[in-house]
């Protein structure tokens, strides 16, 4: 009997321990909560002090994407607050799980006053709520603000819902896609930058088989890619083959990209690279970090993606191997003899203002006034480049970053709340000593002559909004499985048919009808 008691006592103790750990968790959370409430009281204290003055700093919250591992220090933010006479709290949400936090906040009506949307897809998910007037329509207000007025009309049109504007956009170059490759390896093997897809394949082959680093070991491969068909290599290569950007016209009808032969050619191209070992074998499950690691540590020689990444890649690579040399390149012609490159709709991110948290027009005006000031050269420079003399200096009218590591930590996160672009806000463009980085900026401009746009951006399909993401999964899975050889052509066709029957046909119909 006493044994039974001892046993029970033990069980109780274990349960107790579990409860304790659970409490630990929750106290951590409430600790976080305390923090914010501390901030609140501080804010209140501040505003109490300032309440004698008539110009009280307006306080509100912004939810924004965090692209760096850590929440930044508030130095830059304080400067922005000072210049805009506001008291801004930024809810940083890691970019990786931005969607769920956004949806959770929305579902529980706890969206803050200014909400960044992340991208076109998430923006589309909110379409219904926007149509239901859950967010402030901005058309009537923008004219009151001299800087917001300057935002580009054609980009704004891409974000209109039923002809009405609900967002401020954050401008980004229309296409940053291209190749970053090992210049030193190419020189060793006597290769020039690839100008056609065949030359690209040849380079991938040579980097894999011809011992480009000259160490006598078979320890290199060509292309490093990751589990992302859009921002990884696939979509850019598809553009070279002439595949449309998401949707394209065939026989007078809008059809999704994967119904085009060019899409299949691209898959075959990847399949060939995969079979021959010219690309990392596990790329469908490779993370961005691992993908870049292969490039930095000298395992792979070709990186297809945003050419601007060349500088961060180089900074890390040179620490491993001081001899390393990179170069960037954009124009690769497909078998049809032309070069094309897919474009984003002119914005990287969008910010919206929910009526649930911005209660009056007066509040909206104050928040818009903040973003208006964000578009003055002075504040835009602070948000984008940091503090002059500390984070950057001006060289010939360009901003030159002083210490890229410090900037990465203290400034770069704030680029996520930028509105407009250098052209409209008048902030400095970058000055880069590292030559390939400067070249990449030029190639962005060159890309603009060869853009492949997504024709469905201004169009609307209800089924696409509702089921588009789920249906896309079918195609994404099939594409990967085709490339790694677990699905044949008939299997891919079956997946496309599956896509069609589960709602794809309706999407095609709706997009074509809304033209």
């Amino acid at each position: 009997m006493s044994n039974m008691k001892r046993f029970l006592a033990l069980i109780i103790m274990i349960l107790f321990a579990i409860v304790l750990t659970a409490c630990g968790d929750s106290s951590e959370e409430s600790g976080g909560g305390d923090n914010t409430s501390n901030n609140d009281t501080e804010e209140n204290a501040n505003s109490d002090e300032e309440s004698d003055e008539s110009d009280e700093a307006y306080s509100f919250t912004i939810m924004a994407n965090l692209h760096t591992p850590e929440v930044p220090d508030e130095k830059v933010l304080n400067k922005i607050e000072e210049a805009t006479n506001t008291d801004v709290e930024i809810q940083w949400v890691p970019d990786n799980n931005y969607e769920d936090r956004l949806n959770t906040a929305f579902a529980t009506s706890s969206l803050p006053q200014a909400v960044f949307m992340k991208n076109q897809t998430t923006f589309l998910q909110f379409r219904e709520a926007i149509e239901d007037e859950q967010f402030w329509e901005l058309d009537d207000y923008l004219d009151e603000f001299e800087n917001l007025k300057k935002l580009k009309e054609n980009v704004q049109d891409n974000t209109r819902v039923n002809g009405k504007l609900y967002t401020l956009y954050q401008g980004r170059p229309l296409s940053r896609q291209g190749i970053i490759y090992r210049k030193d390896w190419a020189d060793n093997l006597g290769l020039a930058a690839p100008t056609t897809t065949d030359e690209f394949m040849e380079m991938a082959r040579a980097f894999t088989e011809d011992d480009p680093d000259g160490n006598g070991k078979d320890d290199t491969f060509g292309v490093t890619d990751r589990s992302d068909l859009v921002y990884g290599a696939f979509k850019t290569v598809a553009s070279w083959f002439g595949t449309p950007n998401e949707w394209g016209e065939k026989d007078g009808q809008l059809l999704p990209e994967f119904m085009f032969d060019e899409y299949k050619q691209t898959m075959d191209f990847f399949k060939e690279m995969h079979e021959n070992g010219y690309i990392n074998q596990d790329f469908p499950v490779t993370s961005k970090t691992d993908q870049q690691e292969f490039f930095k540590n000298g395992s792979a020689g070709i990186y297809v993606g945003s050419m601007g990444d060349v500088i961060s890649l180089y900074n890390d690579a040179v620490a491993i191997n001081p001899e390393v040399e990179f170069d960037v390149h954009n124009q690769v012609k497909g078998p049809h003899g032309e070069f094309g490159i897919w474009a984003i709709p002119g914005f990287g991110n969008l910010v919206m203002f929910p009526k649930s948290s911005v209660e009056t027009e007066d509040d909206l005006r104050k928040i818009l006034a903040f973003f208006d000031k964000m578009m003055t050269p002075e504040v835009a420079n602070t948000a984008y480049w940091g503090i002059e003399g500390e984070h950057y200096e001006v060289v010939d009218g360009f901003a030159k970053v002083l210490d890229s590591e410090v900037s990465e930590r203290e400034v770069k996160p704030y680029q996520a709340i930028e509105i407009g672009e250098a052209e409209t806000s008048g902030r400095y463009e970058g000055y880069f000593e590292y030559e390939p980085k400067a070249k990449s900026e030029e190639l962005f401009k060159d890309n603009e002559n060869y853009l492949i746009e997504n024709p469905t951006v201004p169009l609307y399909s209800e089924t696409f909004v509702q089921d588009g993401a789920r249906l896309q999964q079918i195609i994404t899975d099939a594409t990967y499985n085709y490339i790694i050889g677990q699905l044949d052509e008939a299997g891919f066709e079956a997946a496309v048919e599956n896509w069609q029957s589960q709602g794809g046909d309706k999407i095609i119909e709706e997009f074509n009808a809304s033209e």
């Binding site: 949806n103 074998q281 499950v285 649930s356 677990q486």
Partner: protein, 318 residues
Amino acid sequence: MGTSTVIQDKNTLKKKRKSETWKKLRKNKYLYLMIAPGLIYFLIYKYLPMYGLIISFQDYKPYQGIMGSEWVGFEHFQRLFTSPEFWMIFKNTLVLFALQLLIYFPVPIILSLMLNEVRHSLFKRGIQTIVYIPHFMSWVVIVSISYVMLTLDGGIINEILDSIGLSKINFLLNEDWFRPMYILQVIWREAGWGTIIFLAAITAVDPQLYEAARMDGAGRFRQMWHITLPAIRNVIIILLILKIGDVLELGFEHVYLLLNSSNRNVAEIFDTYVYVAGLQQGQFSYSTAVGFFKGGVGLVLVVFANWLAKKFNEEGIY
């Protein structure tokens, strides 16, 4: 007349019973007071939120609220049951559950029986500590370690296979390898931790029984079979029922981390489906319906397991 007396009798009986209940309540008021915090916890955190299940019968729009959203009845359930993915997800969930039950569940029992036979106390404690450690690692760490070992691009296991002349195996992108990988990782992380309760139960066995058995010439194995195992049988049964109650808690995080385009056919389970449909794609009502259905399956299994336990003359959990 007769009927009215019967009714009267019934009424007095009812009153009597009622007053008895009150008496009992008053008599044990401190005991009831003690369970109050637990009750309140369950009411607030487990039962009250169930009110949100209403949205699975609605076309829920957050800004219209639970009261204001349109009522659509069983539409979402219909969509779930007619969806081509439904049977795949249902099957995958049950298969992983079966693996947990048949392969994972016995491991901690065997492990604790083995630990119990270790006589050297310092050695035994050392081993115990070592096998507990993986439990404190997050799934992210465990899945990442497996990834690093199994990848085709320089993973150590494939390098070894290659160096002894075997062909490389595509562990990560092959759906045949998902289930073995899943269950091995579960064992790796949880088996050691799972021994705690069994070891506690084993210490409660009366040592005289072993002495007696030894006198009768029983060896180690006989002692284990005829004394230790029967002694912890009810603990095993209770844990088994609890385990079945967790049937559909297959570890969302774990499966989600392992899931990729090439193993979705075997790796998509209810939890991952709910996460993607609900939180990433914002289909709140539909994903609630899926979660509701999953909860229903879990309930049926627990009731069934409990019934089964009672059938075999064991104590159930209720």
